[in-house]
Amino acid sequence: MAETATKTQLLDVRNLRIEAVAESGARVTLVDDVSFTLNPGEVLGLIGESGAGKSTIGLSTLVYARSGCQITGGQIVFRGHVLRELGIEARQSLRGAKVAYIAQSAAAAFNPAHTLYDQVCEVALQHGVMNASQARVEAVRLFRELDLPNPETFGNRYPHQVSGGQLQRAMAAMAMIAKPDLLVFDEPTTALDVTTQVEVLASFKKLIRDHGTAALYITHDLAVVAQVADRIMVLRHGKMVEEGAATQILQQPRMDYTRMLVAERVAAQASTFVAPHGSSAQPILATRDVVASYRSGPRVIDNVSIELMRGDTLAVVGESGSGKSTLARVIVGLLPRQEGDVLFNGESLPPRLESRSKEQHRRIQMIYQMPDVALNPRQTLLDIIGRPIAFYFNKSRREVRARVEELMRQIDLPLDYISRRPGELSGGQKQRVCIARALAAEPDVIICDEVTSALDPLVADEILRLLRRIQDQTGVGYLFITHDLGTVRRIANKVAVMYKGQMVAYGATQQVFNPPYHPYTELLLSSVPEIRSDWLDEVLRKRRKVVR
């Protein structure tokens, strides 16, 4: 029976078990009893949050485990070969030639010392698929197919000489050149800006479709996987949650966890806008024609004016390099402004952090993207949350502790965590502690710099809800720096769109995110993947029309 099954199947993974073995001998199970099959030409999406074991499974199809990890159980059968029984040479002739890998960060995965041609053709030459001149012709053909600029000369460049999106596509060429039967995409667009992601995603989709290559597509983003996958497998904590046809998973998920994932994604697209408060009042925080740059370099932000009302949320959106985080640094005084003014409650703030008063410090607080590095690993939660209380309000130890406990209740952390250190908390819990620390100062404004970007979708959703609840309770204003338009929709009543240091659109979210659009806002909005499986094709059709 197994015989007949393997004939049609390209890949058959049975009861896969992968463990991490620490030097002390302690074992942690990364992947537990995962089974799936893949037919020729089929695309299976692997989806799950960080720590779900997606990449580990992807790499196991190349019989590879990262250092410290070990495949300890199960079978991987590829075209009738039992992969775990292969010797080292057989493994080498499988990797790259039959199964090829596309990594998340092309910038790191390309060797800086060699040209792109060298590295792309190396695969074909190593496996004896073609000779040097054939490999070059094939490389150029792939570069052209992947819409890379000047395909004839593109390969002469070094990795650091091309952009991130181009490098990611060059890696797809490197994977395809030996005509493998299976491609493993490991979060290949996650590191890219949203407008670049669309183009790269389109190239990948075309490549898989035209060559009829089977693929494992690993991602945490349901909307991305919806565009490419025939079937989807949902993973959590190394275990399979459910597996099925893409349409079934996206439209009728059976398991609660999958339902939550889908619901979160749908909510991000379809939430109703929050209306701003009246604009007659004095803004609590405002910038007027602010200009700033690092050292004597070019202007990183140029003539930016925004206004934040008490109890409102103003989102500043833009892609990497748009200057949105720099704006936050200028407001708090880490980077002194060169021109313009920053007003707090109508009063001008000194440009430099050091010249501001304790009270001015207290009233603007900040929350960061990476809670890991925003909390001192050597301090307990009592130290961390208690310090602003002791520092700003001169409270006794007993009063500080009482207030810390009150804050911990507010952010839904168990009180017995009070003597724990950050290392003992999960990512979401750490971010809650950061919020509590900011609240401890009883500020008027909290600047949130990409506070949900490093978190898994469901955790991020909880943090957003918490922030909104706190706003309702305390009337604090948020300046919300983010690249994620879904976040903007859910939390902001006003939005400023930044592009290359300039503010290209500004106003109530409802108005900026509805026609008539600013062209860049429209590009940005249309680039956000949607969970419909026909979204990508539709966007490309529309854009082609515009070009013509």
Binding site: R91, R95, G96, A97, A103, S105, A109, H160, M174
Partner: protein, 315 residues
């Protein structure tokens, strides 16, 4: 990139200038009048004044510094206080000897330690790696005179294979020189190889754990080619630095080894000069060592810049 190279060259020259000021300042201006230091017990006001005049100590320091430096650039390093001979004549043969010993050791130590370091990195955590690691840790921890005397006791006094005193004379042939200086050379390379090997291992390991090496594995490239083609070009800059540091050590750090084997090198000359307070010789030796040290670092810098693809192929 040319701009960068010129910058480094200028920086090297500026550093050398600063060091020469430091050497001059420390030897001539620190507490303790040089003249009375030289005379010691026999100092009387009259002969102190005479010496001061002879050395020109009564003139301003800046003037004396520029004159000293000007002379030094033209190859005139003054006269030794101990035997009144021109410093350059005293130093010349000693420098040749030291360079001979250093090059002798380098020719053996550099290829051997780089090879050992790479092998230890490739076979990480193997018996070979652990063995090499323990031996090299021990070698680093031992003072040179321990290794030196141990070798003398063992290979010279007991086995009578090599002479204990490494005196090289012009009338000896080249191979005779190699034979006579074998034990000091062995002492030097034991210390240097340990250092160089450990540093090479670390830099190769850091490259071997990079994502592009993992990518090469996933492309099905054999291990040998990964090391030679993917890891080495990127580990080159750190390895060059390691070599430069150790070459500098070979030339500069031989002082103790020269003393153990009563080898007539520049280091022992300097130690003797320090003991005798022969300031012109100390200054000259210091200057020469500084030139060698700064020069080797400069060469390493330039080579690392040349081996960096980001700088060789700018955007």
């Amino acid at each position: 990139m040319l701009k960068l190279l010129v910058q480094r060259l200028a920086l090297g020259m500026a550093t050398l200038l600063a060091v020469s000021v430091l050497i001059f300042w420390v030897t001539e201006l620190l507490p303790g009048d040089l003249a009375s230091n030289i005379l010691g017990q026999s100092a009387t006001p009259e002969n102190i004044a005479a010496i001061r005049a002879e050395l020109g100590l009564d003139r301003p320091a800046v003037e004396r510094y520029t004159e000293w430096l000007g002379d030094a650039v033209q190859g005139d390093l003054g006269k030794s206080l101990a035997n009144k001979r021109p410093v350059i004549d005293v130093i010349g043969p000693r420098l040749v000897n030291t360079l001979f010993l250093a090059i002798y050791a380098a020719v053996i130590a550099v290829p051997l330690s780089v090879l050992l370091g790479i092998l230890a990195a490739i076979y990480r955590n193997s018996v070979f790696d652990k063995g090499v690691n323990i031996v090299s840790l021990a070698a680093i921890s031992m003072p040179e005179f321990f290794i030196g005397y141990f070798l003398i006791l063992f290979m010279s006094v007991q086995l009578k294979w090599f002479p204990a005193i490494a005196t090289i004379k012009p009338e000896q042939g080249f191979f005779q020189h190699l034979y006579v200086t074998f034990l000091p050379m062995l002492t030097l390379i034991l210390v240097v190889i340990a250092h160089m090997m450990r540093m090479t291992r670390t830099s190769v390991l850091s490259v071997m754990s990079s994502p592009y090496v993992e990518m090469a594995v996933l492309k099905g490239i054999p291990k040998g080619r990964i090391v030679v083609h993917h890891a080495l070009p990127n580990a080159l800059a750190p390895i060059i630095n390691v070599i430069a540091i150790n070459l500098a050590y070979l030339i500069v750090g031989v002082v103790v080894v020269e003393a153990v084997f009563t080898f007539n090198g520049l280091g022992r000359l300097m130690v003797d000069a320090v003991a005798k307070r022969d300031i012109p010789v100390v200054q000259a030796c210091g200057l020469i060592f500084a030139i060698v040290f700064i020069g080797l670092n400069l060469i390493a810098d330039v080579l690392s810049i040349l081996s960096n693809p980001r700088l060789r192929h700018p955007r």
